[in-house]
Amino acid sequence: MRHAFSVRIGPVGFRIGSDWRAPIAALETLYRDYPGPRDGVADFTVRLFARRPWRRFVRPSVEIGGDYMLPEAAPLPLRQGVLAAEMAMNLQMALGARRYLLLHASAVERDGRAVLMTGISGAGKSTLATLLAAKGWRFMGDEFALLDPATGLVHAFPRLISLKNEGIAAAEAAWPAARMGPLLRATPKGDIRHMVPDARAIAAMDTPAAPALLAFPRYGFANETRPVPPAEAFVRMTQASTNYVALGEAGFRGLTGLIAQVPSVAIDYPDGMSAVAQVEALWSAL
């Protein structure tokens, strides 16, 4: 394609091609500290393209494609090109990933052990992971945690952190020196701003961790924690994984192993700081 960029995020290599320069230029800047794909061969190809040639110039709108596509994907305006690229990369993971059980969860690590946070989007898991990272945890990812069914370890996937709405200010306050993408107003998901994970998260992204806690945070309620029964945790995680069924036996062994070995806890919280306190309290009690 006209413009191209390759990057590796955790164990996954991407090649992104674009009909426009701008999204590629933005990705090059934001991902400048990341390595390229292993052996120079990307796991997934992503394409940002104009449906008709004139759409490159007239009201340019970015179609999302690649190795794996969904017909229902709607195009985005060119100024949201980074968001289109991130969506397209996530889509490749959601539809194509087979090496790891893909858990739709954010993850942080301390002493080689990881907390997985699943269940909500928006002001929830991205912000929570960012706040925990500001308190000394290693950030592993805000969208997908990759569970290796063979080892039971989770691998980091520290892509750009996708901050939304009020989460933007919270993360900026916690990470005043962080590098940020442009503020994208009025996207289909509200205001979005991408934040580059901290240097430690990128440097350690090839180090997996043993899961120690599976948290189901819920924003907007009074502080409370309660254990989640194993069957409920199991079913919720099958629904929070786009490739559980596709992994077959490996997925079953991986997920039942995770549920058996790690406590599952629902966490209700009224604001980010209380959630951080609750996670740290649960952690100390493990």
Binding site: M1, A4, G13, R15, G17, P37, R38, D39, G40, V41, A42, D43, T45, R47, F49, G66, D67, Y68, R98, R99, A246, L247, G248, A250
Partner: protein, 329 residues
Amino acid sequence: MVRVVNDARILARALADPGSVAGLDADGWTALLAMARAEQLIGTLAMRVDGLAMPAAVKAILDDARAAAEHGRRAALWEAEMARRALAAVDCPVVLLKGTAFVAAGLSAGQGRSIGDLDILVPRESIDRVEAALLAAGWEWVKPDPYDDAYYRRWMHELPPLIHRERDRMIDVHHTILPLTARITPDPVALIDDSVPLENGLRTLSPNAMLIHAAAHLFADGDLAGGLRNLWDIRCLVEEFGTDGLAADAGRHGLSAQVARSLRIVDALFGAGEATVIDRLYIRRVTARDGWGRPTRPVTRLAFYIRSHWLRMPPAMLARHLWTKFRKA
């Protein structure tokens, strides 16, 4: 700047002569993998080059592709088994077609092959009972549109597609292998009479009939989308079963020209055979794919699309069909 790869012939070569991948650099592999995914041949490629020297990253991607193909094989066989259970009481021959038949019979064409819907062939006189049995066992109509439904029932070679409400898998129930509107009319009774039983009571077409069906689908019906995979199926069938009696069988179904063309193209694309001028047009169409996995050669693609409609319908009917579609759009 990335070296431009704009023709899927490198994919055809890698399938036919796996050793040819030895010279690929990182960009070459990346292009090959993107093409193979776009043509739904990544699993097949993974089986073909298994064990050869390649970068670790490529090996990991192809290992995943093999595992995915294995999962797809299992799901396809299970869907066939569920159809078998649903149709056990109907007491008519049920012939598996296409990918499911290849894996059920353990053929080389099934190795690593991606498999979509379940396609079965049943005698036309049983089709109402087959439909009722499937509906009773949890399959439902996909398109409740009256025009489409009437169109299918009157003119197509199959029931309107059904989907299983629990498993989300589609089944296409055929009573012959080409639309009734096509100018060529294969003999479905002979296809079923010559079919071969599997251990579980389901059946597959005879090897020659599998090849004839693939050729019919490729050259007398579709617009050659997914053509490379179909041609690879044909090549595997020829390698495994030879071509004894093929010409006579093809003649019986009125598909001599299509079968001969498919053999020539397979020979030219996967070997060193000579292609005619027209054959080269077909090859141009089925290899229209670049190293980003994008379709190329839009004019050629459009020409084959129009041709596919022309083949399927008599001119007056084509006009009526396009007019109805046009009014609705």
